[in-house]
């Protein structure tokens, strides 16, 4: 029998009642009395010198309260970057200023130049059109290779478009070069990881509010991490101390990373509300989202894999150009480095690995973490080159992978790229995959496809992910400018119900359901007795938010630690009530018992006693039952898995259909299997989107050609086949109390190479000499590859 409550139960997502009946409360649903609206005047050119911004006419228009320009932000900080990379020569990365409104130059289409605040949204937009901007257009710096020739500079004061040149691990370089030079076979692949737009369903919104009587500013914003925004904006941009600044992120309608970062519009609305003494609201249009939300991916890489005559991997060398866009977004430098280079060992025991990354400024929207963040880029390179090597050497791709897997017995395993994998069993997930994908039946399905005039291919892929980036003292040495702990407060109420307050947040994953499941098990009370509060810096402990599949692995661990403190204290209260020693108290199923006796008191009585301490050891114990824990993990967690998909390709049009997809994941222990299925489904849908459809394309002038849904192809339900998802292979994490690893990004990491491997397989089986196609594998690209 599957459990029907607590850890391991597929409890229904309680937040869905709100989300599915239209009663969620998103930032745009908030309207503060007296609010004004801001409309931004944005650069229409990719690169230009800002000669002048005329605001007189706009200022005089109906309803206009004020028109702001870059000049109003002199002396105000720019947007800070949260991670500093040290390059191969020990120099810090180039970190150019990122003003709230453009100063002197515009650097990408969408760069904000002026902001018009008016009484109504329409008035703000009308007046924004009347702001006269004189820009002298400069040639746009777009292609990363040519950008490195430094003929035109995105940032003159940086003196170069190279943000940093990073080597990892630098000490491995010579050994890798030597191993490749001596290898029996070297497979080389050049590939592009296509630029994506996150396209959260809910566009970004910011409302700044200022209470002059208390001198407190409030920012309502669409954020995955309100505490981080409060720290960055308060300390680095606007100089507002935490006790005078509250950041609230209510329901968040998807983010996929794009709502981690601190954006100019947030700082602007907070700043303008203080200047104008009225609330200021901004809601992005979808067109604005395309040119202002941080984009994802956009790597161009060359990877070389050296093998011996038996197919053992000897060495990997990769060189990547990573697009930073026009400015450094909050965590941008971490993505191609510590979230990418460290993952290059994958699931394999390759002894020598060296990763080089050159981060490049271009006149495009800033690029930052997007579901998977660096790990999909690493997996894509590695798994594509392994597939190519298998074909070149005539070895079955599954067998080549199996041969090189880190063995179950080798854990904990230290990779040559600085990670220490705690647990895993890659052969087990591969076995499971073979079972759920019916590899054996492939040949007959192939024949069936042939009869219908289609090519059919089978693609296989493995991935490893590193979640819950930690510990803080290590990441600090690597350049992080923040800690990476998480927090939870467990507030037991007088009648025994419980409120969890956590510093992390949810942008749709279902924390309001899963966090109570954990406590229901620990306290032996119903899930419906427990609720979760998050998203408001005024009532939750400082925490780092939701990204990197970290919330249950780090926030859940903090929750367990806080709950353990509650149980310890509750035992003392129970001991007092039963006149026993606390050491003799056992707690199970909501009952405190004295070991070896039939004496017991119930959870509810202990809770009530804590708050009505009439019969209570007040001299030894404080009343009340509320505990907080901050948990800083000892290591990353390492979810891993094996994916397979089958595609049909129509050779005369190049159209690809994903007809079957299966995923065998090892997420360690699982709190809510249904929610985990959903996370994997969503990740795979996004990965199929990246593989076949999505692409942010700039033209030579730096205009975003795919700046609307007419040109930017999102995956839709009918693009996704039935997904066979399994997470029964579980090697629990060894260093967090729940044994959990995280599941939010796996699907998006594992699926793109699976799909590409399958398409290449289909084409090769069909007799076409194609060994790689860059994503997205649109019909046009596949047809072009088929036709040379």
């Amino acid at each position: 029998m599957p459990k029907d409550y607590g850890i391991g139960a597929s409890s229904k997502r309680r937040e869905d009642v709100r989300f599915l009946t239209g009663s969620g409360r998103y930032t745009d649903d908030i309207n503060v009395p007296g609010q004004a609206f801001v409309s931004f005047v944005r650069s229409e050119v990719a690169h230009g010198k800002l000669n002048s911004v005329e605001t007189e006419e706009a200022s005089a228009m109906p309803g206009v309260l004020r028109v702001f320009t870059g000049a109003d932000f002199e002396g105000v900080g720019g947007l800070p970057c949260g991670w500093q990379i040290t390059d191969r020569n020990g120099e810090p990365m180039k970190e150019p200023a990122h003003p709230i409104l453009a100063q002197g130059k515009v650097r990408h289409v969408g760069d904000p130049i002026a902001a018009v605040v008016a009484e109504s949204e329409a008035q703000a937009r009308d007046a924004a059109e009347a702001v006269a901007v004189d820009v002298q257009e400069l040639p746009a710096v777009l292609d990363m290779k040519s950008a490195l020739e430094d003929e035109g500079l995105v940032h003159e004061d940086a003196g170069t478009n190279l943000c940093f040149d990073w080597g990892f691990v630098e000490d491995n370089k010579d050994a890798v070069d030597a191993a490749l030079a001596g290898a029996h076979h070297v497979t080389t692949l050049e590939l592009t990881n296509n630029r994506l737009v996150a396209n959260a369903m809910e566009p970004r919104v910011a409302i700044g509010d200022y209470d002059a009587a208390t001198d407190v500013s409030t920012l309502f914003t669409t954020s995955q991490n309100p505490h981080v925004i409060r720290l960055l904006m308060g300390a680095f941009v606007l100089s507002i101390p935490e006790h005078k600044l509250r950041v609230v992120a209510p329901d968040v309608g998807g983010g996929f990373g794009s709502k981690i970062y601190h954006y100019a519009e947030e700082a602007f609305c907070t700043f303008a509300a203080r200047q104008l003494l009225c609330p200021v609201k901004w809601t992005a249009t979808r067109s604005e989202s395309f040119v202002t939300d941080a984009h994802g991916r956009d790597h161009v890489s060359k990877i070389e894999l050296g093998l011996d005559e038996d197919g053992n991997f000897l060495a990997i060398r990769t060189a990547t150009l990573a697009n930073m866009g026009a400015y450094l977004s909050t965590f941008a430098p971490a993505v191609p480095t510590y979230l990418h280079g460290t993952l290059m060992a994958g699931n394999y025991k390759t002894p020598n690995i060296y990763v080089n990354v050159k981060a490049v400024f271009t006149n495009t929207v800033p690029v930052d973490a997007y579901r998977g963040a660096g790990r999909p880029e690493a997996t894509f390179q590695l798994e594509r080159v392994i597939d190519k090597a298998a074909r070149e050497l005539g070895i079955d791709p599954v067998e080549l992978r199996r041969k090189n897997f880190i063995d179950k017995e080798q854990f904990p395993y230290a990779t040559p790229v600085a990670l220490q994998y705690d647990t895993g069993d890659y052969a087990a997930t591969m076995d499971k995959l073979a079972e759920i994908s019916d590899f054996e039946g492939f040949e007959s399905r192939l024949e069936e496809s042939k009869r219908n005039g289609k090519l059919r291919g089978l693609g296989v892929n493995c991935y490893i992910e590193a979640c819950g980036i930690a510990p803080s003292n290590l990441v600090g040495q690597l350049g992080a400018r923040a800690g990476l702990y998480e927090s939870a407060t467990v507030r037991v109420n007088a009648t025994g119900s419980v409120t969890i307050l956590t510093g992390t947040h949810s942008h749709g994953q279902g924390h309001e359901t899963t966090f109570p499941q954990v406590l229901a098990d620990m306290f032996g009370i119903g899930e419906d007795q427990i609720n979760l509060v998050h998203g408001d810096t005024a009532n939750t402990p400082m925490g780092m938010g939701t990204y990197g599949s970290r919330s249950i692995a780090v926030g859940g661990a903090a929750l367990v630690r806080a709950a353990e403190k509650i149980i310890a204290k509750a035992k003392k209260i129970a001991a007092h009530l039963m006149e026993a020693s606390a050491d003799d108290i056992e707690f199970a199923d909501g009952q405190f018992t004295v070991a070896g006796t039939d004496k017991s008191v119930a959870w509810g009585d202990v809770c009530l006693t804590a708050y009505v301490p009439h019969n209570y050891p007040l001299e030894e114990l404080e009343p009340g039952l509320e505990e907080t824990s901050f948990y800083d993990p000892a290591n990353f967690t390492f979810p891993a898995g094996a994916y397979a998909c089958e595609v049909e390709v129509e050779p005369e049009t190049g159209k690809v259909d994903v007809v079957a997809f299966s995923a065998a994941d090892d997420f360690g222990n699982v709190i809510n299997p249904m929610i985990v299925d959903g996370q994997v489904h969503g990740g795979i849908a996004q990965g199929i989107g990246q593989a076949l459809r999505e692409h942010a394309v700039y033209d030579d002038g730096g205009q975003l050609v795919s700046g609307s849904y007419m040109e930017y192809a999102m995956p839709r339900a009918d693009d996704i086949p039935d997904l066979a998802v399994d997470h029964s292979c579980q090697t629990p994490c060894t260093h967090n109390p729940l044994g959990v690893k995280g599941c939010g990004e796996a699907g998006a990491i594992g699926s793109p190479p699976t799909v590409v491997n399958a398409v290449v397989d289909a084409l090769q089986r069909g007799g076409y000499d194609v060994d790689h196609i860059d994503m997205p594998l649109s019909p046009f690209r596949v047809w072009s590859a088929i036709n040379g």
Binding site: H695, Y709, E711, M714, W783
Partner: protein, 263 residues
């Protein structure tokens, strides 16, 4: 959006008079016009909605030979009403956009807009439809004037479209991955042995009749004949979803499929 007034006339005559105002514009289903307004790319003074004009609604068959579609009939109405009388057109209508688009978007709006990737124009050309307005009739062959351009005068209303029903017909749509409009769409109609073909999505001059294909298939209605067609003349659209060469290739593939489906 800029401010505008809305008129909701109930007769064609009232609509025509409302449209004589400076800057007035017809509003059909609004699925093209409203997004344009939202992006502030147009600034009409009055939108004259035709959706309440009964004489412009409805789909019916005349003399078993002609499907008469009101200028304000929606794609959904065509999809359900023409299923038996003119299945190829019903299929075309039923595969436009999503249910929201089909329940609002209109035949008149689609033809008046003449988007180079829209579906109806291909059908109208292939069957030789007649477009009726509030003051004249225009043959489809004379109606389309290149991308987004038509023979309509300012304020002129498409009140009805008469589609002759072919003996055999088929529409093949290859979807553009993002918009799911036609990357290339081929409408094939056969009247006796005469074959007519309207192609959308492909040409830089908008929807057109593919004369070479019509001649070849009128002589030999076979997929072999379709596969042997010479490349279409004129410049083809070249964009991120496909080169001109790819589109020219798709025209042949889709024409062959239409022949197979109609045979």
């Amino acid at each position: 959006m800029y401010d505008f007034e809305v008129a909701r006339p109930s007769t064609i005559a009232e609509a025509a008079s409302a449209l004589s105002a400076e800057g007035a514009q017809v509003l059909g289903g609004g699925h093209t016009l409203i997004p344009t307004l939202k992006n502030r790319l147009a600034r009409p003074s009055v939108l004259v909605s035709v959706s309440r004009i009964d004489e412009m609604r409805g789909v019916r068959v005349e003399n078993e030979k002609c499907l008469c579609v009101g200028g304000a009939a929606t794609h959904a109405e065509v999809a359900s009403s023409a299923e038996e009388s003119f299945p190829a057109l019903a299929w075309l209508a039923g595969n436009i956009g999503d249910p929201a688009v089909r329940n609002r978007g209109t035949v008149g709006g689609s033809l008046a807009n003449n988007d180079p990737s829209a579906c109806y124009p291909a059908a109208a050309l292939a069957v030789g439809a007649t477009i009726e307005t509030n003051n004249r009739e225009i043959a489809a062959d004379d109606f389309f004037r290149g991308m987004f351009e038509t023979e309509l005068k300012e304020g002129e209303i498409i009140t009805k479209v008469r589609f002759p029903i072919p003996d055999a017909g088929n529409y093949q749509k290859f979807e553009q991955p993002a918009s799911r409009f036609a990357l290339v769409g081929v409408f094939l109609a056969q009247f006796g042995s005469e074959v007519r073909i309207g192609v959308t999505g492909a040409s830089e001059s908008g929807v057109f009749r593919w004369a070479d294909a019509e001649a070849a298939l009128s002589a030999d209605f076979s997929t072999e004949a379709a596969n042997g067609l010479p490349a279409a003349p004129g410049a083809m659209i070249n964009d991120l979803h496909g080169s001109g060469e790819y589109r020219a290739h798709l025209m042949k593939v889709l024409t062959a499929r239409a022949v197979a489906a109609a045979s």
